[in-house]
Symmetry: C2
Subunit: 456 residues, 2 copies
């Protein structure tokens, strides 16, 4: 029952043989009965010669169904399109759901896009052109125009008739949107409601007039949040005057949620984590910009320690605890950063409670610093039989942790206020910055108590 991987491999092998033997009818039968995703897996496993056969065996529409589920950021996408006859590629793009075709075209240069659009029929080309205009990461860039809309003044029976007619091309038929003569969204009715209500009921009687819609310019994160809250399978997209422009479907929202999570994770790590299966030089070149930038920031810390070199040469014991203090404060800063970024991502009230948050973080930093500081005070005091040294290390640790905790939460908040993505304030940045403040705090406290702990 459950298509497991082995069965699928066997099936792929059979398909490949049918392809090699030019057994067109058998190939089509077996290929088309597969799920679109599995078709895509098979297609992506082929070599260019075999793919040429595919283009002669399958219609643009059949290929389009498969391309609708291949991720548009596949690195071979451009290659695939280039190896098709331009007219065939254009026809296929026209047959894809508009949002997917647009996502794919967005990965290409301007020239081929113009070429494909010129080879397409006017209607499809216009639909695509319109969607190409919307800014990345907005509801407009996610939406498709293949939805079903009706007017309220008709029976459930006639609505079902429209629905059946549109079912072949609409991306979802599970919601039907009701518009007025001005194409303004006035209601929504689910297919569930259509089939449980009597055929002679008027749509206006059974539709829901409380339609949750998103604005075409809304950020994709907000759209995703609406999906999460209301558990919808699709949402209508309107302009500022409530005109219905398109719909966003839940499968696109899953991609958004994945992308946003990957981007937050990348931010925290200071590296784009999408680098999978890259060669080492390419992988290194993705990591180096941050590393080198932070190396220069780290040089500031080195310069600072250099300034205190006389102190260190008098009391080399101070060198022993540098990495402990900077490391622990860095850890505290990373924790605080992650909590702050997360909080900014899920709540809208950052403005309102700014003061409260700041006080909260100061207190959290103080408590964390106090506990850690007392711990290290006891350890160092006992280890070195020197509680004044223990006090210096403990006090420096506490102050460094408090400052790092504050920096970890303030910096993303300030970035958010300045209009940047707070997730860009990476963990490595915070730890490197915290190295600087920690060293400053440490050597200042050490200078103050210098005579005493050496004397002991």
């Amino acid at each position: 029952m459950d298509e497991n991987q082995e069965e699928l491999e066997l099936h792929f092998q059979q398909l490949r043989e049918e392809l090699d033997q030019n057994n067109l009818p058998a190939f089509r039968d077996h290929f088309l009965e597969m799920h679109f995703y599995d078709q895509g897996q098979f297609y992506q496993s082929l070599n260019p010669k075999e793919r040429q056969l595919i283009y002669s065996y399958l219609s643009p529409k059949e290929l389009a169904d498969m391309f609708d589920v291949i991720e548009e950021d596949d690195e071979h996408m451009e290659e695939y399109l280039n190896e098709m006859r331009p007219q065939y590629a254009a026809d296929m793009l026209a047959e894809m759901y508009t949002d997917n075709a647009v996502d794919l075209l967005n990965e290409l240069d301007k020239k081929p896009v113009t070429k494909y659009l010129s080879l397409m029929d006017a209607e499809h080309a216009n639909d695509i052109r319109e969607l190409l205009h919307y800014e990345d990461d907005t509801a407009g860039s996610l939406m498709t125009t293949e939805f079903v809309s009706i007017v309220a003044n008709q029976t459930v029976r006639s609505a079902m008739y429209v629905l059946k007619k549109e079912a072949q091309i609409a991306e979802t038929i599970y919601y039907t949107y009701v518009v007025n003569d001005d194409n303004q969204l006035v209601g929504v009715i689910s297919l569930r409601d259509l089939i449980i209500n009597d055929d002679d009921t008027m749509v206006s009687e059974v539709m829901s007039e409380r339609v949750i819609a998103v604005n075409v310019g809304d950020d994709q994160e907000d759209v995703a949040q609406t999906f999460r809250d209301y558990d919808f399978l699709a949402l209508p997209v309107t302009d500022y005057e409530d005109h219905l422009l398109g719909i966003v479907t839940v499968d696109d929202i899953i991609d958004v949620i994945d992308d946003e999570a990957a981007s937050d994770y990348s931010g925290l790590a200071g590296v784009n984590v999408e680098e999978v299966n890259e060669n080492p030089v390419k992988a290194a070149s993705r990591r180096l910009p941050w590393l080198i930038t932070l190396l220069f920031l780290g040089m500031t810390t080195a310069t600072l320690i250099n300034h205190y070199e006389a102190l260190v040469s008098k009391a080399s014991i101070l060198a022993v605890f540098i990495s402990l203090i900077t490391g622990t404060a860095g850890n505290a800063g990373t924790q605080s950063l992650a909590v702050a970024v997360r909080r900014l991502a899920i709540s809208d009230d950052s403005e309102k409670n700014f003061g409260k948050l700041v006080v909260g973080e100061i207190l959290t930093g103080l408590v964390t610093g106090l506990v850690t500081g007392i711990t290290i005070f006891i350890i160092v005091g006992i280890w070195k039989h020197n509680f004044i040294l223990g006090f210096v290390i403990g006090a420096a640790m506490m102050a460094a942790i408090t400052v790092a905790t504050l920096a970890g939460s303030w910096i993303p908040m300030i970035m958010e206020r300045l209009g940047f993505d707070p997730a860009v304030a990476s963990g490595p940045f915070i730890t490197t910055l915290s190295d600087l403040t920690s060293v400053l705090i440490y050597f200042n406290i050490a200078s103050l108590f210098m005579e005493r702990f050496i004397g002991q």
Copy 2:
């Protein structure tokens, strides 16, 4: 049209007034026309006295619809249930979708669960009891039993008849699952296919026999991946003999994806990022376990530096670069860790390519280390007019970065092999571990060249 926040606030105010004036009919009218999510928002904004009114104004079924969309990890959930009459609470739980009721009961102690189950009708209690058995994070724990199943040997017309009857209680009616006499899953038909096919067609002719199903014991991450791949709105769950047990719906998968992302992010930061709006002491107590654990690991590094104290007192310049080397290596380790954890999460072939990955990471580490090492060699050489010292720092930096890069990628791989979640290897852990190896490398290289760079 688009219910904006302001409108909703006004609506809430009106509802609260109707509640206070005991205006039952008006309240019911206005409350029940809202989306379940908005009902939940209103309910959660009430005080205990007002909530008591809700329990007398709404039926258990009406409350259940709303509870179906309130997140079960809301901290007040237990309070809500406790303030209802036990029979009312039990009736409400019975009316909820089974998967949601189970999620909610899983948050409670054993005693109230037993109480509610004993107050329920046998059928609902059994459904819930069965689902309570499934392990967390498996398909079984996500699934619901409110699905529609039919036999193949009937017409589309009669299938639609069944569907209409079940539409009120099924969690989704957009897929109908076809089973044989043994309740084994043999096919699936979407509502789209049902409505576009002729009423007299047999279900067996139009159903898809290639059903993608998940096994009840499958990990929830794998279930989420199947949803991503195939863009389904629901997936059937079967046991090892293909018996149909339940379905998982896409809204639950969005929660899974969110939870997994939060857990990866928390892992990288070394803190549970779900701590939102907590008081400072609670927030600190979440962060301290990792901090203190890592403080002890950091003490090993301090002990190591202590071992080289004689070296430092002879050449205090060495102290200047400790934090630069440990910091930069730590940053490289964090990057490498994040890439490795991400790769493990999205690919299943970690076993196969283990050797290749290791070689790749060694090379990436070497390239990254080489570039960074040369950079710092030049900077230190010029700054200190001492290229031997520059060479020592550069070589130590290069070696430390290579080791940190390897540790960052190997440790999660090894954890995965040992059956742990690789995301648990946190960024702070890697940086603290890398402090130790970096210091070891640094002082060993420094010892070797000691006489020369001091001499210069």
